[in-house]
């Protein structure tokens, strides 16, 4: 049975007594100091608390929300703000591939999948306006459409 000390005090009292919610406590043992610092540094780096600055050639504090994932999340506007409509066309390509067996199983890490590549590169255009209009699409013909994405085939 666990006996809680700090957690049993309500948050308001904790705040009043100056006990921050984000406090990390370290109780240091007798291991090698370099090992301890290295492990802490790895954890800080993986969590995104520090990042390597090539300009200063050392680790520095990462500003909260400064990492690429936070910036990407801000762009997605998941926190309720309306995303800015993007009317630009995105031209993408990928090698033709077919999964013959086991795609879902691969996701769960159970079995290997059998897949093969086509000797054909697929091109796609994401046009929010619904109409593909671009000078560089002249050498391609329309193959199929899925929502706003047109799959094209080279002539």
């Amino acid at each position: 049975m666990f006996i809680f000390s700090h957690a049993s005090i309500d948050p308001a009292t904790r705040a009043a007594r100056g006990l921050p919610e984000d406090l990390i406590r370290l109780c240091v043992g007798i291991e090698d100091a370099t090992d301890l610092v290295d492990d802490l540094e790895a954890a800080l780096r993986e969590a995104g608390a520090i990042k390597y600055s090539t300009a200063e050639n050392k680790f520095i504090l990462a500003r909260h929300g400064d990492d690429p994932i936070s910036r990407a999340v801000q762009k997605l506007a998941l926190d309720g703000e309306k995303p800015v409509p993007d009317n630009s066309e995105w031209f993408v390509s990928a090698p033709g591939k077919v999964i013959l067996f086991g795609e879902h199983a691969v996701v769960h890490g159970v079995v290997r999948a059998l897949h093969s590549a086509f000797n054909e590169t697929k091109f796609g255009v994401d046009c929010s306006s619904g109409i593909c209009r671009s000078a560089m699409l002249r050498s391609y013909q329309f193959a199929s459409r899925w929502k706003n994405i047109c799959i094209l085939r080279r002539h």
């Binding site: 666990f2 809680f4 000390s5 700090h6 957690a7 948050p11 904790r14 006990l19 921050p20 919610e21 984000d22 406090l23 990390i24 406590r25 370290l26 109780c27 240091v28 043992g29 007798i30 291991e31 100091a33 090992d35 301890l36 610092v37 492990d39 802490l40 540094e41 790895a42 954890a43 800080l44 993986e46 969590a47 995104g48 608390a49 520090i50 680790f59 520095i60 504090l61 909260h64």
Partner: protein, 122 residues
């Protein structure tokens, strides 16, 4: 004094060690000074490292610790426990979960290093 009163005192004060516990305690006392020296030296290194990165670190061995003069009057060393703030509870949880050598446990005083978040765990 009857047995029940004695049992109540022992249970509430916590001085009821078994012979095995007593043996371990006596053996531990012999190495206590050596262990404390090592732990305090390590804690100073870890605290200085975090302080140099720019975190707000609480450790009496750091020059900007409030009440440092009082501590130095009362104690010879700076102890083996320190804490630091990251500014974000989620970030702290990620850090605590990401360590491999620092064990996640609510305890202190042992020879293995431990990391925890007092407001969430203890």
């Amino acid at each position: 004094m009857c047995v029940q009163q004695l049992a109540f005192t022992i249970n509430s004060v916590g001085n009821a060690l078994t012979p095995g516990d007593s043996f371990l305690l006596l053996r531990g006392i012999k190495t206590l000074a050596v262990r404390m020296d090592r732990q305090q030296a390590n804690a100073q290194i870890v605290a200085s490292y975090l302080h140099s990165l720019g975190f707000l670190v609480h450790y009496p061995g750091l020059p900007d610790h409030p009440g440092r003069e009082i501590h130095q009057r009362l104690a010879e060393g700076n102890g083996a426990v320190l804490s630091f703030e990251t500014g974000s509870k989620e970030l702290s949880e990620k850090i605590v979960g990401g360590t491999r050598l620092w064990g996640i446990s609510v305890s202190f005083g042992c020879v293995n290093s431990l990391i925890s978040m007092p407001c969430v765990m203890s």
